[in-house]
């Protein structure tokens, strides 16, 4: 991949820059830059674990707690006085909101349309959501909706213009407060598709989505639907603290180095920063900051207003008149006149920023190291970038200057037609997805009681997730299928150790 840093610097030199971090950064010295380059260079030694590898979040790394709380710990290097904010954020994250009007003025304002009453109802144990069991109503998996049209935001090139579905808005809310109709139910069916590998077979379940019991007018014939499952929450603050240049430098949209991997940055308007920023969060990197993502979820998923999305009716469209007329939870002079006040949004952001990454279990195990070699040799690291050193930060000691191991480039990649949702989002096409981080992935079963992966949980284990890779990762997927069985098992053992 080629560095475009110089070009980008020139393009954006005049004003707000994509190289702007959303955080308060202490400029990097030349000496630090040299040390960072040295420590983040990929290893070629697979005979032993690397220095610092056991602690994927640097000094913020926590011990591996047994049980389902493994993803619910705060950064290990957090001073006492900041633990209060983490705990308050945690309480808000787990809090169930109720419909207005209610006796608890501070907790009302839910909906009128919503997917969940509490953040944690989708982000179960701060881990991944799951697909609904047969007969169960989906909560942690929902459908995003849009139709082509509208304008691109100023200053963002290659934006694929879309607007929310005219009646249903940006996502399908399957719950509603009394006197307002819910929008409908997500219908999901699977078809099994056998896959042949060297020495074994697998089966992939191919999902089909539809909207049932639509509560309003018929959906637009042009509607585009994208299923989204709640991703794991750990390490988000460290991803936010990666220097934008370190991400932008890995872009290679025209594949000038010929490795088959392009990688494009998501660039999105940031409600928090008021300027176009590098997108990092969400399955298509549609949010620039943790606060942007949290405020969008408060609005879209729970129908709660914040400073960044001040409409108390959330995702209701103009056509949904009962929704607009329903009572809301905003009272003049109380809680900044919002349903979720500024302080609460700050606390939830702080909480999400500090959910910690557990230590690796057995990075020096010979099978794990064998799998690591496979991962590196096949070029999985082309997108799943192993390590970074985060920016030095003025007021975030937990995230400041940590050597981290998230295994993502945070860029958009064409993953082929098999994984495509055919629903563009910002600069991301209907075939592109952001590389998800892999840290903590081996603890999914322990935390969540399942091993469902990818943007909609269709993969039932890590091997299925690899076999779903296409597009820019087709070569790696094919190579994994062709591996001798023990190498493939070692690769999985390596992923399980992350």
């Amino acid at each position: 991949m080629t560095a475009l840093r110089v070009l980008l610097t020139l393009l954006w030199a005049a004003g707000p820059s994509l190289a702007d971090s959303p955080l308060t950064v202490v400029p990097r010295t030349a000496q630090e830059t040299a040390r960072i380059i040295a420590v983040t260079t990929l290893t070629r030694d697979f005979t032993k674990a690397e220095a610092f590898e056991a602690k994927p979040a640097g000094a913020a790394t926590v011990r591996q707690r047994p049980g389902t709380d493994a993803f619910s710990q705060y950064s290990a290097n957090m001073p006492f006085e900041r633990q209060m904010n983490f705990n308050l954020g945690n309480a808000l994250f787990t809090k169930s909101w109720v419909a207005a009007p209610a006796s608890t003025l501070a907790s009302d304002g839910l909906g009128p349309l919503f997917n969940a009453r509490a953040c944690q109802d989708c982000h179960l144990k701060d881990g991944r959501g799951h697909v609904p069991a047969p007969g169960e109503t989906a909560v942690s998996l929902f459908l995003r909706l849009s139709v082509p049209g509208g304008d691109a935001p100023a200053g963002i090139k290659d934006w694929i213009a879309t607007i929310p579905e005219p009646v249903y808005g940006g996502q399908l809310q399957n719950f509603s407060t009394p006197d307002v109709s819910a929008e409908g139910r997500m219908a999901l069916t699977y078809t099994e598709q056998p896959v042949q590998m060297n020495g074994e077979t697998a089966s992939l379940r191919v999902p089909q989505y539809a909207v049932m019991k639509a509560g309003y007018a018929a959906l637009s014939p042009a509607v585009m639907i994208s299923p989204r499952i709640a991703p794991q929450m750990i390490g988000l603050g460290l991803l936010e603290a990666i220097a934008p240049d370190d991400i932008l430098a890995r872009q290679d949209p025209d594949d000038t180095d010929g490795d088959g991997i392009s990688g494009r940055a998501s660039i999105v308007p940031s409600a928090q920063m008021g300027q176009p920023m590098l997108g990092r969060f969400g399955l298509k990197a549609g949010s620039a900051t943790i606060m942007d993502q949290s405020a969008a979820a408060f609005s879209g998923d729970m129908g709660l207003s914040t400073t960044l999305h001040s409409d108390p009716w959330g995702d209701c469209t103009a056509a949904q008149t009962a929704c607009h007329a329903a009572p809301n939870g905003q009272e003049t002079g109380l809680r900044d006149g919002l349903e979720v006040d500024r302080e609460s949004l700050d606390l939830v952001t702080f909480y999400a920023r500090n959910l910690a990454v557990p230590e690796r279990r057995n990075p020096g195990d010979p099978t794990v190291l064998q799998g690591k070699r496979v991962f590196y040799d096949l070029g999985c690291t082309g997108c799943h970038t192993p390590k970074y050193v985060t920016d030095r930060l003025q007021d975030q000691p937990e995230q400041s200057f940590q050597l981290i191991w998230p295994y993502t480039d945070l860029l958009l990649h064409d993953m082929g037609p098999g994984l495509a949702d055919h629903r563009p989002e910002g600069r991301a096409t209907g075939q592109e997805w952001k590389t998800p981080p892999l840290w903590g992935i081996g603890l999914t079963s322990q935390v969540s009681g399942h091993t469902e992966f990818l943007h909609d949980g269709r993969a039932r284990n890590l091997l299925e997730a690899i076999l779903w890779h296409g597009g820019e990762a087709q070569a790696q997927r094919d190579a994994v299928a062709a591996l001798p069985k023990p190498d493939r098992a070692a690769l999985i053992a390596y992923l399980e150790s992350l």
């Binding site: 006085e81 109720v98 009453r117 144990k125 200057f401």
Partner: protein, 415 residues
């Protein structure tokens, strides 16, 4: 069994307060206090079990009152033990089973119809007391027999939702008191004893299953306390871990004090309720016993520092203390922290006294109750102040403030 130890430590603690204690002795005192505290939690949990058995055998106003009193009597030792939670993984990993809150109590038993339904957590109104079979994540669960295993293995945090609390003190509390439907007004839960009457006279249905649930969940609590008491008894895993590494033990002690003071007690348990004016955000919300739990948390922090614990039966356990170690390093730091800890206990004693005089914690949370807010914020401020002093104590002892439960060899972290 600790009599000789008590005698020896009591003497040295009182006669020679400035004698420099060594880490091994201080660690031993800490373990002795842990053993006594969790030992008392077990004794009082068993007394609770006896009272619950009495209620179920012969439901009446009197037996219900006895069971409620036994529950309240079981809380002080447990809450003093919370100072052992942070810094000791064995305690921290176990805590959620015995003290989780707040709960969607409709999972367990009937609730007021006005109680908020959660359509995306159907388990919040499951009412397992009324439903011997139900579906959980697409699987049919046979709950005909309400056993400790069913509660801990299937119902607790069902569906991955933390609000689905099926076990621990607060599940027992709900079954003894019922919902507190008084909001920020006076009064606690008011479950009638007839909810446990077998046959004619049973109120609210399913009295047999309600009794079975209460029996099972109380047994589970006793089992969990027995487990933790054993961890701190001589040879137990928690005790060994501290004794084998006295220097790490000092960090464990101060981490436990600091994390409980600030984030947990001042933040999640006190300030949050005030911030939200929400009576659901009080720990002992069915019984209105929150003021006691808050108070004994602060006492527990003080116990660890002073190396002294007053057992439920009045026996005093004491020995060489952290306080003495800090004093020998810097007497002014010790004096300030000792005084700060006393101030917090005093501030929480004001809330406790108000509670005992009929002004419960949830009433103080009402919007516009400025007197309540002042009293609560004084406690928060005192806890915040003591945390800064705890940090200074760590500094004078040469300890770093970090989660020591991860090996913190500087060589393992890129600087």
């Amino acid at each position: 069994m600790h009599l000789s130890l008590i005698a020896a430590f009591a003497c040295s603690a009182m006669a020679l307060p400035v004698l420099a204690a060594d880490p091994a002795q201080v660690a031993q005192t800490y373990v002795s206090i842990g053993a006594a505290t969790f030992g008392d939690a077990l004794i009082t949990a068993k007394a609770l079990q006896t009272a619950v058995d009495g209620l179920i055998a012969n439901p009446s106003e009197a037996t219900l009152a006895t069971a409620r009193a036994a529950w309240i009597a079981a809380r002080p030792s447990y809450t003093q033990g919370e100072a052992f939670r942070f810094g000791n993984p064995i305690v921290d990993d176990w805590e959620g089973r015995v003290n989780a809150w707040p709960l969607d109590e409709g999972l367990i038993d009937y609730v007021d119809p006005a109680y908020g339904q959660s359509e995306e957590n159907p388990l919040s109104t499951l009412n397992v007391v009324a439903n011997p079979t139900f579906t959980l994540s697409g699987v049919t669960v046979d709950a005909t027999q309400l056993t400790p295993d069913l509660i801990s293995g299937t119902l607790q945090e069902a569906g991955g939702l933390e609000a689905n609390v099926a076990s621990g003190y607060h599940a027992v509390e709900f079954l003894l008191w019922g919902q507190d439907l008084n909001g920020t007004g006076p009064g606690a839960g008011n479950r009638p004893f007839t909810d446990f009457v077998q046959g004619p006279g049973c109120t609210n249905g399913n009295c047999d299953r309600r009794a079975a649930y209460l029996t099972a969940v109380t047994q589970l609590l006793v089992n969990d306390m027995a487990y933790m008491a054993a961890q701190w008894a001589p040879g137990g895993a928690a005790a060994n871990r501290i004794i084998q590494d006295p220097n790490s033990a000092l960090t464990a002690m101060l981490t436990g004090m600091g994390s409980l003071s600030y984030g947990e007690l001042a933040g999640q348990r006190i300030r949050l309720g005030l911030m939200l004016n929400d009576p659901e955000e009080e720990q002992d919300c069915f019984s209105d016993n929150t003021y006691n739990s808050l108070y004994y948390d602060a006492v527990g922090i003080q116990n660890v520092y002073l190396g002294q614990y007053t057992r439920t039966d009045g026996t005093i356990i004491s020995g060489p203390s952290l306080s003495q170690m800090v004093a020998s390093a810097d007497p002014s730091v010790d004096a300030k922290l000792t005084s700060d800890l006393a101030s917090s206990v005093t501030a929480l004693a004001v809330i406790k006294a108000a509670g005992e005089a009929g002004k419960a914690y949830d009433q103080m949370l009402a919007p516009g109750n400025s007197q309540g807010e002042t009293v609560i914020m004084e406690a928060v401020d005192a806890l915040v102040t003591q945390t800064a002093s705890i940090q200074r104590a760590m500094t004078v002892l040469g300890l770093t403030e970090a989660d020591f439960t991860v090996a913190n060899d500087p060589a393992e972290v890129f600087q």
